[in-house]
Symmetry: C2
Amino acid sequence: MKFKLTLAYDGSAYQGWQSQKSGRGVQDQVEAALARLFPGTPKLTGSSRTDAGVHALALVAHFETADLRMPVRHLPLAINSLLPQDIRVTRAAKAPGDFHARFGAVSKEYRYRIWNHPVMNPLLRTQAWHVPRKLDLAAMREAADLFTGRHDFTAFTANRPGELGDPVRTLDRCEIRKRGSEITCILQASGFLYKMCRGIVGTLVQVGEGRFPPPAVETMFESRDRREAGMNAPAPGLILWKVDY
Amino acid sequence: MKFKLTLAYDGSAYQGWQSQKSGRGVQDQVEAALARLFPGTPKLTGSSRTDAGVHALALVAHFETADLRMPVRHLPLAINSLLPQDIRVTRAAKAPGDFHARFGAVSKEYRYRIWNHPVMNPLLRTQAWHVPRKLDLAAMREAADLFTGRHDFTAFTANRPGELGDPVRTLDRCEIRKRGSEITCILQASGFLYKMCRGIVGTLVQVGEGRFPPPAVETMFESRDRREAGMNAPAPGLILWKVDY
C-alpha cells in the first residue's frame, strides 16, 4: 500500500529535506518515526529537496508499507507523536499505486519573505530575509514580469551548465506582494532547477536596490552564465508552499 | 534629555518585559545595553508590562541621560549592536520633558494569533495558540461585539477585585479576522487590566468551540468573578502591536 503525507517544517535546525549521514535531514526524522510504526523501515520519497534552513508548509512525500495497523486518518497523530515540534505531518491519505511524490507533481509554489525595514523584525528572524534598504517595488515587478514564462534558467541555478539535463523551465507565476514592511515573492512552476528560486529572488531584490535595471534580466537569461545574474537570496526566507498533482 | 525608544522582541526566551532578579526580563537586556553606552546606568520606563512569552512589535519605553554622544538617528544601531537578535530597537527619538511612556499612552493595540487546524503550523509554534477544533467564527464575532465598549472587566483580569483601582475599561476595538487557518483577534483600548487580553481571547475561543453561547459574555461581566468567565489564552499568541500617544 502506498501513502501520501503532507509535511510542514521549520527548517532552521535541519540540513535540508534530504537524508544526511549526520541524521540532520528532515527526511531522517520522519523516517525514524515511520520505522517505529511500520515493519521494514519504509523510505520516503519527497516532492522536493529543500536546502538547509528552507522551510515547508506542504511538502508531499510518499512511502510504501505492507501493513497499516490503523485507520489512515489516525496516521498524522501517530507520526506527530514521534516527531520533534518543528516537523508536523498535516495530512495523510492512501495513494494510488502509480503515485510518485516527485515525478507526479504538476505544479509547485514557493514563497519568499523579505523584511524591508532598517531594523529586522525579531519575530521573523529565522523566516525572512532582512533587506534594510528601501526597495523599488515598481522596478521589481517589471523584472518579475520578465521572469514569467518559458526560459532557459541556466543563469539562475547553482547547477553547472548541462549538469542536470534540460535547463528550460516555465515560471507560471512570479508575483510580488507588499504588506507593511513585509514583501512576499510568489513563484510557481511545474518544476525548479537547483537554487533557482533563491537566484530569482536575489536578482529581484538587487533590481529593487537599483543594482540592475529591470531589462537586465533578459541579458542574464541570454548569458546562460550564473555570474551574470544577481545573488542568491539566503535560505531562511524561502518556504515550499504547495505542491499540486 | 529624554528619549523615546520603540522596541520589538520575541518574548519566548524572557520572563516578560519587566526587570527580574534573574536578569531575564527584556527590560534588563535593554538596560544592560544602555549602561554600556551612557553614564549612570539609565533606567527604562515601558508602556506595558508584557507577560513571560508575550511578544512585542512596538513597545514604547523612555529613559533619561545627560549626555547623548551621537546623533539620535544612530541610537537604534548602537543599542542593537549590544542586544541579542531577539530584541531590536526599531526607532529612537528625542522626547519632550513631560513625555511618559506609560501614563502618556492614549491607545494600545494587541493582536492575538490562533492557528485553527487539526495540526499545528511549526513556523508559528512559538507565536500562535494551536486550537485544533473548528471554531464558529460567527459566534465569536457576536461575542466580540459584546466585549466592545465600556465595561467593568473584573471577570476578565487576574487582578483580585479592588486590587488595582478602577476595573472599568473601554475596549474600542475587538475584531476577529481569518485568513486560511490563521485567526487574529485585534484588541484596542486606552488601557488594559492584568491578563485582560488573554482572558477575552480565551473566552472568545471557548465561545467558538460552543462551550459558551455569545450572550454569556454579558452574564460574565455582571458576575465580576474571574471564575465565571472563560480560560486565559496562552501567552505565546499575544503581541503588543502598537502604542499611541
